[in-house]
Amino acid sequence: MSEAIVADDHDGAATAPGQNDAAAAVAAASGPLGVGRSLPFLLALGFAGVSVAVVAHVTEAPRSYAATSTSAAIVDLAAGLGLIVAGAAYGLARQRGSVGLLSAMIGVAWLSVDWIGWDDGPAIARSVAMIVAPFLLPLVVHLSVAFPTGRVSGRLARSLVAVAYGATASVSLAWALLRDPFFDRNCWSNCTVNSFLVRAEPDAVRSLTVLWLYFSLATGVVVATTCVERLSRASHAARRILTPVVGPAALVAATQALYAALLVADPAENPDRGVFTAAFFARAAALVALAAGITWAVRSAERTRRSVARLADELGAAPPPGSLRAALARSLGDDRLDVAYWLSGPRAYVDASGQQVALSPGPTQAVTPIERNGQPVAVVIHDRSLEARHDLEREIGAASRLAVDNERLRAQGLAQLSDLRASRVRVVETADDTRRQLERNLHDGAQQRLLALSYELQLAEADARAAGDTRLAGVLTEACERAGTALVELRDLAHGIFPAILTEAGLGPALATFVDMAPLRVELVDLPDERLPHHAETAVYLAVTAAVEHAARRSASRVVAAFKPADSELAVELVDDGTGDSPDDLIHIRDRVGALGGRLDVDGSRVQVVIPCG
């Protein structure tokens, strides 16, 4: 059980599970606050130790159920000791809140009954035990609503707990002051001592006892019902955590109610009678189950811590992105759990793959931030019920510091990569747009002006000829021809910068024109008719033309470009019959294709291009 308590590992390494004794457990918990925190548990453990001796001390007539038989003694001690030890483990295993303490105190209250029946024990001890024993009921009430957070939330729950404590304290106090066991007709465990007696009021005590029994009965029923209702309303992840403790708590409440009902029916309690013995075993068994449930909760929290810590160890094996999320979700039993990493650069949360995410926890979810040196590192979005039972921030922050950092760094890398990718796409798109614009400017500007100039030269030439100035006419004819040559060259230049037909008519007509002018025979196979996104068309066009020029440099006479359109991409395979060597001079095209998320591979006489078109 003390395995659950692991020393705080500051270097993030998993802790060796060697510290299995209680001393180590206590030592581990004794930080600056440790002594104060462990003191009540040490006292409870001491009390439990003495209780064993008390039970073992056999008297002539049985004064407690534990004294009736060995099996009763075993069950009795198992319940009490179990609750105290489980409570100590829970309380010291870095679990916040009052659950551990409540468990230990239930154990103490349960064992107090044995002290009451300690025939030749100190009167004061027996009297104190009589005050303590009734508190079993309010403690169970408290635990059943406080688990797992340790806090009591909700007005109804708070008033239930307050009423239970208040009523028990009043009854207990009244008994202490007014009850003289000697006058108690039904007394059996202690018929002699009450150190606190002020004035014997047998009638009042009798009425009070009946009232108390009805109160116990009602409270037991209410608590059992509340527990069952709480379980049925809980989410899957929450139920996994609640059931081991809240379930037994319901049983404890129910058996307490049953016990009260028995006493209402027959105030003369007699441990020799089967019905009372059976009720005792039922009550004890319910408490053993509660102890087991609390132990399970400790173990399960520890398992989580370990599996997260193990993940940190396994990082050498480079788990795929999202492993931390998957490991946490698995360990915590919360399928909807999510981890988001904070990037201080873009000031945004990203998931493990580097995609930006908005933090939007559902109504039953909570967000636990993980901080390092006061700086946010990550957040875990998880089921609310996990919030208390697991000290998530510390567990993840300490045990898997490396895992968080690793995933975060990777997420950061991926986010930067995705930024870089977007920026490459923008660079290519900007370049395309610039070329397109340049072509348009040439067409609408320089080419038009040159056309006009050539027209004016022709007019001038005609005039010169009409005026009989043949020398000038000759000069102008020559100028006309030069203007014509300039026009042709300008047109070729503009087409080379960007073929307007690619934008206007698409890949087919543009490549057909390219093939018209190509220095070698190019065959286009299965060229798709439909239009693709602009930048994909441009990339395919430039890749094909560059690959054909590459083939020409390898002295090829023929290239076959086979197009293989798929759903979201276009693949082109170009095979040439060249034999010459050519350096891989397609690097700028590969960059461009890569920027769009495609690829270009050159393998001898084969060039393969894949361009995403989605």
Partner: protein, 214 residues
């Protein structure tokens, strides 16, 4: 011959109008965009419309679209498309639906009055006009076992003129040979190349262009 001229570039448009005026051609209207062109064509029913391929609003192929629309709706109006693009695809697209009474000419040619007026007359007469630069580029295209190599020099010449859209009679005039000789050449060429169309139809220009691009 009555002509409507459509070009969004004023300089070019006025240049064309001037050339046509000088040549005695009657320019009945001018337009700066496709809508204006269609309006003027409806209003004047000219013999031929001279259309710039690039016009507002998108400056892509409005002229081509308008040309096809005119040919669709007004079979009596011929269309001559002017372009600065040496793009056989545009020419073939123009010829695809109505191979007769259409022409595709590079813009720089139109200031040579003789070329422009000749092209206008040819489209008016129901012929097809394909710019010779386009045809010569297609002839230079690289081919496997070039079938054009099986043609004689004269057949080569005739094929070029067929691709430019000339009728047999016009080819005969151009080459100073008899009409029957041209007919025989054309039949022979189509046989050699395996071009699958009647040697006399309007569609033969498109068939030859497609063959050259195959």
């Amino acid at each position: 011959m009555r002509v409507v001229v459509a070009d969004d570039a004023m300089l070019t448009r006025e240049g064309i109008v001037h050339v046509l005026d000088e040549a005695g051609v009657d320019v009945v209207a001018q337009a700066a965009d496709a809508d204006g062109l269609l309006r003027e064509v409806t209003r004047w029913t000219p013999d031929v419309a001279v259309v710039d391929i690039k016009m507002p609003p998108t400056h892509t192929d409005e002229g081509l679209v308008a040309a096809q629309r005119i040919r669709d709706e007004r079979p009596d109006v011929a269309v001559l498309v002017l372009s600065q693009y040496l793009e056989p695809s545009y020419a073939m697209r123009l010829l695809d639906r109505h191979p007769e009474k259409v022409g595709y000419l590079l813009k720089e040619r139109v200031f040579a009055a003789a070329v422009l007026v000749d092209a206008l007359r040819r489209v008016c007469d129901g012929e097809t006009v394909v710019d010779p630069t386009i045809v010569s580029r297609l002839f230079r295209r690289r081919r496997d076992d070039d079938p054009l190599a099986t043609l004689s020099h004269r057949e080569h010449e005739v094929l070029g003129l067929v691709a430019e859209g000339l009728s047999n009679r016009a080819i005969a005039d151009r080459l100073h040979v008899a009409g029957r000789t041209v007919e025989a050449h054309v039949t022979q060429i189509f046989l050699k190349l395996g071009v699958d169309t009647s040697p006399d139809s309007h569609r033969r220009v498109l068939a030859v262009l497609s063959f050259l691009r195959r």
